[in-house]
């Protein structure tokens, strides 16, 4: 047990910090998905061209071939520099790419990984269905083999950025007779294929980030199957463990920055009792301090998880502990912000010297509601912790 950092890691951190300080885009990303995607892709391309894309991705596919520890260092420096967190490119960078690295064929990796790293296109996720949310294995979107193709019909839902994505990690039922976990296949779906219809869904936060996707006899080459036919459940578990585990490494640093910003707000605005700065209110101070402690705990859990993995890229079911704490903490922090500034932000009026924020604190709080739904609801995460970490019966 030690905090020793190798010379290579220290050098990597220094170089990353220097490059990010000079190159991070300063423009606020627009809410419109298409416009924001274009900015993201340009920024991704810039990272690739300068040799910073895919830190722990294999070098033969355009990555840097470094360790998970260095990937974490990059995420930390990235967030500390205030670089934009991926939105439309989240799926490709954070879980489709890692899934292909772990489970894809050489041809799949050679085709897709460089495209993701170069910022040529984005991916989306087609897992949930209207009748298969938490009970993902109930999915019914059918795929029938026809020659060297799968023919897919059905519907997916909650697919973020489906309207701008080029590829999709798609789960389909290829054997309706088999036990339900054994008849599922994970396949790469080209979103430009005939028979696909995408309908955006308006979220409670106003933006149309996620979509329904309808498939009407969509033809997908069998060569796009990742893992074996009917073994898609195990591939999906890899995807989800990336989505719940390592994908949040960068976000926890962003959350720490958000909290630091909130502490600064609490120093200068008048608190709920109308008599003194918010930070002098004992209850506010306690909640801020507790949130800070929990943000530190979250980081420690990430470091422990990286240590435990000992170089294995795929997090275990312990990732769900990180996901639960992260989601609920994001909600606690943004709710605390709403309590400090007021739901309409009235406490901020006329207070000089505060950095402008892309979204209001109330919008961030409302947005945070998704943090305990996406990537598996907090209830499902607790089932996973109970059953797969603690060994409790189903």
């Amino acid at each position: 047990m030690d905090l020793a950092v190798s010379a290579a890691e220290r050098d990597f951190r220094d170089r990353a910090r220097t490059w990010l300080a000079e190159n991070v885009p300063r423009d606020a990303a627009p809410d419109d998905p298409r416009a924001s995607q274009q900015l993201e892709l340009a920024w991704q391309r810039e990272q690739f061209d300068s040799g910073w894309a895919g830190v722990n991705w294999p070098s033969e596919y355009g990555g840097l071939g470094l360790s998970l520890a260095e990937q974490l260092i990059w995420y930390e420096e990235y967030a500390l520099a205030g670089a934009p967190q991926p939105r439309a490119s989240f799926v490709g960078l954070r879980h489709a790419g890692p899934t292909l690295i772990l489970r894809g064929t050489d041809a799949q990796k050679a085709e897709h990984l460089p495209q993701i790293l170069k910022g040529e296109l984005t991916w989306c996720q087609g897992f949930s269905e209207p009748a298969a949310g938490s009970d993902l294995a109930a999915l019914q979107t059918r795929a029938v083999i026809d020659g060297d193709h799968l023919v897919v019909s059905g519907q997916k839902i909650w697919t973020s950025y489906a309207d701008v994505a080029t590829y999709q990690e798609l789960l389909v039922r290829t054997d309706p007779e088999a036990p339900r976990h054994r008849g599922i296949t994970w396949v790469i779906c080209d979103m430009r294929s005939p028979g696909i219809e995408v309908r955006p869904i308006r979220t409670l936060a106003g933006v149309s980030e996620f979509c329904e996707v309808f498939y009407d006899e969509v033809r997908i080459p069998l060569a796009n199957v990742v893992g074996e036919l009917n073994d898609g459940w195990s591939v999906a578990m890899s995807t989800l463990s990336f989505e719940r585990g390592t994908a949040f490494m960068a976000e926890q640093v962003s959350l720490a920055r958000t909290l630091d910003a909130l502490v600064e707000v609490a120093r200068v605005v008048i608190g709920p009792d109308g008599r003194r700065p918010a930070i002098d209110d004992e209850e506010i101070a306690r909640r801020l301090g507790r949130a800070r402690a929990e943000v530190s705990a979250l980081r420690a859990m990430m470091l422990a998880s990286v240590s435990r993995s000992a170089g294995q890229p795929q997090p275990g079911p312990e990732a769900s502990m990180i996901r639960v704490l992260y989601g609920e903490l994001e909600q606690r922090i943004t709710k605390l912000a709403v309590d400090i500034v007021g739901p309409d932000g009235a406490a901020l009026v006329g207070v000089p010297g505060l950095a402008p924020r892309r979204r209001s604190w109330t919008d961030e709080y409302l947005w945070s509601f998704q943090a305990t739904i996406a990537a598996g609801s907090k209830d499902i995460q607790r089932n996973i912790i109970g059953e797969r970490v603690l060994g409790l019966p189903r």
Partner: protein
């Protein structure tokens, strides 16, 4: 960077767990004294101190791993005061005094200011109102205040202070309130102020947090074992989501507080700038979480959990006693916010 224990550290913790599971922490004064001398023989009071003083060497991380086991095993005795006292004596080059604590011949109770902003350790004088743990048979009292740390003869404290024995939550952790008037301020055996005192206070918080993390893990494991075997409605109650999720929350608390504790202890040992904040965060979270998990553990055991026979209450009582020792969550969270 690696937050996992080394094989050597696993061995230390494993040996401690086996020793404590063997009933060494048994009840009764005689058993306590025997256990104390066994623990001293195992080198547990000299971790992080040099072999010339009879110390066992090693790091704060080693000490934290050991104290996690002591917390899990509900080990008896003035552990915190004695190891901090030994460290203070060693720092002050009072070698024979340090050696006597490391060897288990001399014990030190633990005292810290109790809701008294004027409590102070200055010059070689101690005054104010203090909460004292395990004063009963102690030879010395280890005082920790924000401005200094000191060892005081326990007899002198008994003579000069007005001492109110309290009805503490845990009968095996005696607590009293000691009021030392300015006019009869106590003379110290050893006193240190300034940065070394602050550092010793932070170490104390880390070690206290370790005891609480041990409780967190013990409660989690005890609950998990019980809800796997206890059946109602024809199946183990651990299959019901309400129970399962309570256990999941206990696991998240243990994992998060434990990971933070190790990060904090390593940061403190390395003298990193954010070490104090991390240590205070770890102690505050471990305190709050341990009280919650100990309560949940009783809940998971149902009616059985409410009986004296079921050990669940022991963790609840010990968690309460230690949760306000060396920094309550209220004080520490406010400190971390600033």
């Amino acid at each position: 960077m690696n937050l996992m224990p080394t094989a050597e550290q696993e061995a230390l913790a494993g040996a401690a767990a086996r020793f404590l599971a063997g009933g060494a922490a048994g009840a009764g004064a005689g058993a306590g004294a025997a256990a104390w001398s066994d623990m001293a023989d195992l080198g547990w009071f000299g971790i992080g101190l040099p072999p010339e003083l009879g110390g066992a060497g090693g790091s704060l991380a080693d000490q934290v791993l050991l104290f996690r086991e002591l917390g899990r095993g509900l080990a008896p005795g003035p552990l915190l005061g004695t190891v901090l006292g030994a460290r203070l004596a060693a720092f002050a080059r009072r070698d024979p005094l340090a050696r006597s604590m490391i060897d288990g011949e001399v014990t030190a109770a633990l005292a810290e200011p109790w809701r008294d902003p004027s409590a102070s350790i200055s010059g070689n004088r101690v005054s104010g109102r203090f909460r004292v743990l395990e004063l009963d048979d102690a030879d010395l009292v280890m005082f920790l205040a924000p401005d200094g740390v000191a060892l005081v003869n326990a007899q002198a404290l008994r003579r000069h202070a007005s001492i109110h024995p309290l009805d503490g939550p845990d009968p095996s952790v005696p607590v009293s309130l000691a009021e030392v008037a300015d006019s009869s301020a106590l003379t110290t055996e050893v006193v240190v102020t300034g940065p070394p005192a602050v550092e010793l206070g932070a170490r104390g918080r880390a070690v206290a947090a370790a005891l609480l993390v041990g409780i967190l893990e013990a409660c989690r494991d005890m609950s998990v074992a019980y809800v796997k075997s206890r059946e109602q409605f024809g199946k183990p109650i651990g299959s019901f989501q309400a129970v399962k999720h309570r256990c999941a929350d206990m696991a998240v608390r243990a994992e998060s507080a434990g990971s933070l504790l190790f990060l904090a202890a390593l940061s403190l040992e390395d003298g990193l700038p954010d070490a104090d904040r991390l240590v205070s965060s770890a102690k505050a979270l471990a305190s709050e979480y341990a009280v919650q998990s100990a309560h949940d553990n009783v809940q998971n055991h149902g009616g059985v959990g409410f009986t004296a026979e079921c050990p669940a209450h022991l963790y609840a009582k010990r968690a309460l006693a230690w949760s306000v020792t060396l920094g309550s969550p209220d004080v520490l969270f406010a400190e971390v916010a600033r």
